[in-house]
C-alpha cells in the first residue's frame, strides 16, 4: 500500500510528457490575464485618482479574476475527465485494467486523482494573479478562502461528473457532450428554478411548512449548489461583516421577495457548496465504480 496508485503515476507520466497540459495551463492563464489587463485599463480611465479607488479596483479585480477562473474550471474540468475511462475503453485497455488486481474503485479513484492533480495546478496557478488584486487593498484573506473554496468544490464535483459519464458512455465524444450538457443544465437550471419559485411565491401568503428547518435547508442547498451564486453570496456576506463559516438563512431570503417565515443558521454558502460537492463526488465515484463491474450484459 506504500506505492502510489499505478494509474495516477501512469497518467501523470504520460500526460506531462505531451504538450497538452502546458497548452491548457498557458491558455487558462492567458485568458485570465487578458481579462485582468482589459479591466485594469478600463478602470484606470474611469476612476482616475480618487482616494478610495484602490480598494474598489482591488475588489472588482478579485471578483472578475475569480469568476473567470470559475467559468474556465467549470468548463475545462469535465472535459478533462470525460475522456478518462471511456478513453481506456476506446484504446481497448479497459479490459486489461479490469482483469488486473486494481479494483473498480481504485481505477475510478486513480483517474479522479490524476485529473485533480492537474486541476489543482490550474487553480493554484491563478494565485499570483489574485495577489495583484490583493495589493490594491479591499480584499481580505477570508475572501481568498471563499474563492479557493468555490474553485476547489467546482473542480472536484465537475471532475466527478465527467468521470461518471466517462464510465458509462461508449465514446469520448458522447461522454464529453453529456458532461458539458449536465454542467450547463446545473448552471442554468438552478437560477431558472429559483426564478420560477420566486415568481410563483411573489405576493402570496407562504405556507407554514416553508419555515420548517428542513425546508430552509433544502432551499439553501439548492441555491448554494450553484458555484457562482455561492461565491457571490459568500463574498457579499463577508462584505457586510458576516462570518466566514456560518450564515443566517431565512426561508425565501435569497430572493428576498417575500416576508421570511423562518430562520436558522447554516454553513456559509461556499462551505455548503464544498460540502455538497464532496457528497456529490462520493456518490458519483461509487456509481462510476459500479458501472465498471462486469454485471452489465453489454460489451
Amino acid at each position: 500500500m506504500s506505492e502510489i496508485n499505478p494509474l495516477v503515476q501512469r497518467e501523470l507520466r504520460s500526460r506531462m510528457r505531451g504538450p497538452r497540459a502546458y497548452v491548457v495551463i498557458t491558455g487558462f492563464l492567458a485568458v485570465i490575464s487578458l481579462v485582468v489587463l482589459l479591466l485594469y485599463v478600463a478602470t484606470i480611465g474611469v476612476s482616475g485618482s480618487e482616494a478610495n479607488a484602490g480598494p474598489e479596483i482591488g475588489k472588482l479585480l478579485f471578483l472578475v479574476i475569480t469568476s473567470v477562473a470559475l467559468v474556465l474550471v467549470a468548463l475545462i474540468t469535465p472535459v478533462f475527465t470525460a475522456g478518462s475511462i471511456v478513453g481506456e475503453r476506446e484504446r481497448q485497455t479497459l479490459d486489461l485494467l479490469i482483469t488486473s488486481l486494481l479494483g473498480s474503485g481504485q481505477i475510478v479513484l486513480g483517474k479522479l486523482v490524476a485529473a485533480l492533480a492537474f486541476i489543482a495546478v490550474l487553480i493554484l496557478s491563478i494565485a499570483p494573479i489574485i495577489s495583484v488584486s490583493f495589493m490594491f487593498g479591499g480584499v481580505t484573506p477570508a475572501d481568498i478562502v471563499v474563492a479557493f473554496g468555490c474553485l476547489t468544490a467546482t473542480g472536484l464535483f465537475y471532475a466527478a461528473i465527467g468521470l461518471f459519464w466517462s464510465s458509462i458512455a461508449r465514446s469520448s465524444i458522447t461522454a464529453t457532450t453529456l458532461s458539458l450538457g449536465t454542467i450547463v443544465m446545473l448552471l442554468l437550471g438552478v437560477p431558472f428554478i429559483g426564478v420560477i419559485i420566486g415568481i410563483v411565491v411573489t405576493g402570496r401568503e407562504l405556507p407554514v411548512w416553508l419555515g420548517h428547518p428542513v425546508a430552509i435547508t433544502v432551499w439553501a442547498m439548492l441555491i448554494d449548489s450553484h458555484p457562482f451564486i455561492a461565491l457571490l453570496l459568500s463574498l457579499e456576506h463577508l462584505a457586510n461583516g458576516g462570518d466566514l463559516w456560518l450564515q443566517p438563512v431565512t426561508s425565501g431570503s435569497p430572493l428576498a421577495l417575500s416576508e421570511p417565515i423562518g430562520a436558522m443558521t447554516l454553513p456559509s454558502p461556499w462551505l455548503m457548496n464544498l460540502l455538497l460537492s464532496l457528497g456529490g463526488t462520493a456518490l458519483l465515484v461509487r456509481a462510476s465504480a459500479r458501472a465498471l463491474r462486469p454485471t452489465e450484459r453489454r460489451r
Binding site: L7, R91, Q92, L94, T99, S100, R297
Partner: protein, 315 residues
C-alpha cells in the same frame, strides 16, 4: 486436476445465444486449443473466464474459484491476452510492463528484474526503451504476452494471439508458446487457423454456435475422425481402369486423379472409409485384382479437415 471447469455455461445477448450449456475442462499443464469459426463463442467463453462478462446461467471455475463469486482470486490466477492490443501513448515498453506489474501488485524490487526477464523471453530486450506505439504489430503482440505473464499466473488465456501476424511472426509466436507450455504453464488458446494449433496443443476443443462439438487430448480427437482417411495411390499403366476398379470397392467413397497430377504420374486420391485392418485388406484386394500398384501413402488428416468435417456434420 482441472484448472478450468465450466458447467452448463450459457450466455445470451438478447435473442442470440452465444454459449449454449458449454461444459468443458482444462487439465493443469495442458496447452488447450479452442477452435471454432467466427461467432462460435470463443471470445465470449474467454471473457467469462477472465471475469469480464457475467454468464447468463451456469458455472465456471478457474483454479478452483467461481468466476462471479471470487473474481479477484480468478484475476490473480489468470493472464489474459485479448484479441486486441491496447496501446498507451507516451509509454515505453518497460513502462508499459511496469504499469501492469504495479496493477498486479508485483513488489517493486521484484518488478525490475522481472520486466527484463520477460522482455528477454519474448525477444524484445532490445526494445526496452522504445515507445509502445512505435512497435510493430508482432512486437506489440509479444509485449502483450509478456504483460499477461507479469504476475506469474497459472493459466494464460490467449484470444487469437496469432491473428494479424505474418508467417514468420506466427512461427516465432508458436515457438514461444511451446516454450511456455514446456515451462508448465496451462495455456488456453483460441484460433480458427487450425493447422497452427495441431502440433503445439495437447488438447483440442471444437466449438460451434456456442456448443462444444468435441474435446479431449489431441490424438484422441484425431483418431476419432481418423477411421476415415485419405490415401494417395500411385498406379502404373491404365489409370482409368484402376480408377473404375477402386470406385467399385464398397469401402471407397470417392476416387479422383490427384489435382496436381498434370505430369501423368498416375496418382489417385482415394477417400477411404476404414481402419488399418480394412486398409490391409484393400491393398491385398488391389494386388489380387491385378492393379499395378506402385505405392500407397496415407495423407494425414489435418485439423483443418477434421474441423470442416465435424462442423459440417451438424445441421
Amino acid at each position: 486436476m482441472a484448472i478450468v471447469a465450466t458447467h452448463e455455461l450459457t450466455q445470451r445477448f438478447g435473442t442470440t445465444t452465444a454459449l449454449d450449456r458449454l461444459t468443458l475442462e482444462i487439465p493443469a499443464g495442458a496447452v488447450y486449443g479452442f477452435i471454432g469459426p467466427n461467432g462460435a463463442g470463443k471470445t465470449t467463453t474467454m471473457r467469462i473466464l477472465t471475469t469480464l462478462l457475467r454468464p447468463t446461467a451456469g458455472e465456471a471455475r478457474v483454479a478452483g474459484f467461481e468466476v462471479t463469486r471470487d473474481p479477484a482470486a480468478v484475476r490473480a490466477a489468470v493472464g489474459f491476452m485479448p484479441d486486441t492490443f491496447g496501446v498507451y501513448e507516451g509509454l515505453r515498453a518497460w513502462e508499459y510492463l511496469d504499469f501492469f506489474g504495479r496493477s498486479f501488485r508485483v513488489a517493486a524490487q521484484r518488478r525490475t528484474p522481472l520486466i527484463d526477464e520477460l522482455l528477454e523471453l519474448v525477444g524484445l530486450a532490445h526494445k526496452r526503451e522504445a515507445p509502445v506505439m512505435s512497435l510493430s504489430r508482432g512486437m506489440q503482440q509479444r509485449l502483450s504476452l509478456a504483460r499477461a505473464m507479469i504476475h506469474d499466473p497459472q493459466l494464460l488465456i490467449l484470444d487469437e494471439p496469432a491473428s494479424g501476424l505474418d508467417p514468420r511472426a506466427r512461427i516465432e509466436l508458436r515457438e514461444l508458446l511451446k516454450e511456455l507450455g514446456a515451462m508448465g504453464k496451462t495455456i488456453m488458446i483460441s484460433s480458427h487457423i487450425l493447422t497452427e494449433l495441431a502440433e503445439m496443443c495437447s488438447h483440442i476443443a471444437i466449438i460451434e454456435r456456442g456448443r462444444l462439438l468435441a474435446d479431449g487430448p489431441v490424438e484422441r480427437i484425431m483418431r476419432s475422425v481418423q477411421a476415415h482417411r485419405t490415401l494417395d495411390i500411385r498406379v502404373m499403366g491404365d489409370v482409368a481402369a484402376a480408377q473404375a476398379w477402386l470406385h467399385a470397392h464398397p469401402a471407397i467413397r470417392a476416387v479422383e486423379p490427384a489435382p496436381d497430377d498434370g505430369a501423368g504420374r498416375g496418382v489417385l486420391v482415394v477417400d477411404f472409409d476404414g481402419d488399418d485392418r480394412a486398409q490391409v485388406a484393400l491393398v491385398r484386394a488391389m494386388i489380387d485384382g491385378g492393379l499395378n500398384v506402385l505405392s500407397i501413402s496415407e495423407t494425414r488428416n489435418n485439423l483443418e479437415e477434421i474441423f470442416m468435417r465435424i462442423t459440417e456434420a451438424t445441421p
